[in-house]
């Protein structure tokens, strides 16, 4: 069984964010597993999954160490002959070291001849300076949940109040918290 990276959109209009991965046999299976694993609590409007092998990943440190144009030519995610047709790629970017439960946010789509080329285009954007890490995924490699499924797949989590910590009292006495030394 393969690993599939999962991207969750919390609400319409917000970006899809990388949240983790699931083991599954194929995209349909991965989407259902992603719903079980990542949408136990609110909120979700949409899920994307992509086979782990389809992810082209570079951190800022990796980019500093090796020019994109010299990326190993046997890396199937990265290469394409010059003059190859342009395909759409989805771009995800991590921009902060702040504590978070998500890795990289979807920032846009580019037409490129390879994943490396797509990243070069993304790096040319002015906002790219603050980027700490990038994931490039061919659009064709992403399977999305059906919007028509959202009421069945995601909405029920909102009603499961019994597993939300806000439903429980704050305890028998106020907790005295000493300042850390």
């Amino acid at each position: 069984m393969s690993r599939w990276e999962v991207f969750k959109q919390d609400a319409p209009g917000k970006p899809h964010q990388a949240v983790g991965s699931v083991h599954a046999t194929d995209a349909r299976h991965a989407l259902i597993n992603a719903a079980h694993v990542f949408v136990r609590r609110p909120a979700a409007a949409s899920l994307w999954v992509a086979h782990a092998s389809a992810i082209f990943s570079r951190t800022r440190q990796e980019l500093a160490a090796q020019e994109l144009s010299t990326v190993d030519r046997v890396d199937p995610a990265a290469t394409a002959a010059p003059g190859a047709p342009l395909e759409p790629y989805e771009v995800f970017r991590k921009s902060s070291n702040r504590r978070s439960m998500t890795f990289a946010d979807h920032v846009g789509t580019v037409e490129a001849s390879s994943a490396a080329h797509a990243l070069e285009l993304a790096l040319a954007e002015p906002t790219a300076d603050t980027a700490l890490a990038w994931w490039i995924v061919p659009t064709a490699a992403i399977a999305a949940s059906d919007p028509a499924d959202a009421p069945a797949w995601f909405e029920p989590a909102r009603d499961k109040l019994y597993k939300q910590q806000s439903q429980y009292g704050s305890g028998p006495t106020p907790t005295v918290r000493r300042a850390d030394p």
């Binding site: 690993r3 991965s21 978070s100 890795f103």
Partner: protein, 316 residues
């Protein structure tokens, strides 16, 4: 990479951590950092998985519909937490299958607190209150860890763990002022889970050789004794307010610092349980082994299905 390059890389690595940067998959890291993390994350993941068993055993007889729902959700979360942690280990090059085999073969450790039996329904509440209470403190610290995927898994886990703690406390507070039978069940559960919860936070600092390096690499930000002190200070007043007695005759309040000081911990028992002689060590591993073996035909079927699809795709 020669020695000078290695030293320079290590210096840059440690400077990044000191500056609060996250190390992400693909970044340079010392082999020791990678191996420490795989060991720690693996241990943590295995603890979640094995931890499903002592409480899972009580789902069937949860005494109200609401408690049944809550307990299924809680044990499900533990599976989910294991899942997030296995993912983090996978980003370091470990495989879930290898890690599972190491656990079942006795080569990988998990938190020994789960080698104690859950003898009554109230144990479920006490585990939520104390064991998850201790786990939360650890998890809050680990959420600041320097390795991105581990830190993110911990942040997600922290957001879900508070529910575990609160539902356990709610249950025990209710029973501590319930029927005589409920009150006795709650006190008995505390008597059996108090010390294992203290020990869960790890050996005393003097006996933890790994800690200084883990601190320097941003994997640990507090020592075991520091976390244990926080745990005791939080829980003692709450347990007493609920009308329960802490099973520690030496427990007393330091009038100067305000800290609650616990009595001596029986480390012989701790090490015995860690080494595999706890009451349920064999049972826990046997249960996980059975699940793994009996599920093998299912995983094989999934693999065959996936291969069949790929073959069909290639032929198309």
């Amino acid at each position: 990479m020669d020695r000078t390059e290695d030293d320079a890389a290590l210096a840059e690595f440690e400077a990044r951590i000191a500056a609060g940067e996250k190390i992400e998959p693909g970044d340079w890291m010392p082999d020791a950092y990678r191996h420490q993390l795989i060991r720690m994350i693996g241990q943590h993941a295995h603890s979640e998985i094995v931890g499903m068993l002592p409480e899972g055993a009580w789902i069937g007889s949860a005494p109200s519909l609401r408690r049944k729902l809550i307990l299924v959700a809680k044990v499900q979360d533990e599976a989910g937490h294991g899942q997030y942690l296995y993912h983090a280990a996978e980003t370091l090059g470990a495989s879930r299958e290898e890690m599972t085999e190491a656990l079942l073969a006795g080569r990988a450790k998990y938190s020994s607190v789960f080698n104690y039996p859950t003898l009554t329904w109230a144990d479920v509440g006490m585990i939520g209150w104390l064991v998850d209470g201790a786990a939360i403190r650890n998890q809050l610290m680990l959420a600041q860890c320097s390795y991105g995927p581990y830190s993110r898994a911990m942040v997600r886990i922290c957001s879900e763990e508070t529910f575990h703690h609160k539902q356990g406390r709610e249950m025990i507070v209710l029973y501590a002022s319930g029927t005589p039978s409920q009150r006795q069940m709650a006190q008995d559960a505390l008597d059996r889970w108090w010390w294992p919860s203290l020990m869960m936070l790890g050996p005393h600092d003097a006996d933890s050789p790994n800690t200084p390096q883990l601190v320097r690499w941003g994997i640990k930000t507090k020592t075991n004794d520091e976390v244990r002190r926080e745990f005791v200070n939080e829980h003692v007043p709450e347990l007493q307010a609920a009308g329960l007695t802490i099973p520690d005759p030496a427990m007393e309040r330091d009038e100067v610092t305000g800290d609650w000081r616990h009595g001596p911990i029986d480390w012989d028992e701790f090490w015995s349980v860690v080494k595999g002689n706890g009451p349920c060590n064999a049972e826990r591993i046997a249960a996980r082994t059975k699940a793994h073996e009996e599920g093998r035909w299912v995983r094989d079927a999934l693999a065959a299905f996936e291969a069949g699809r790929s073959a069909a795709g290639a032929r198309a």
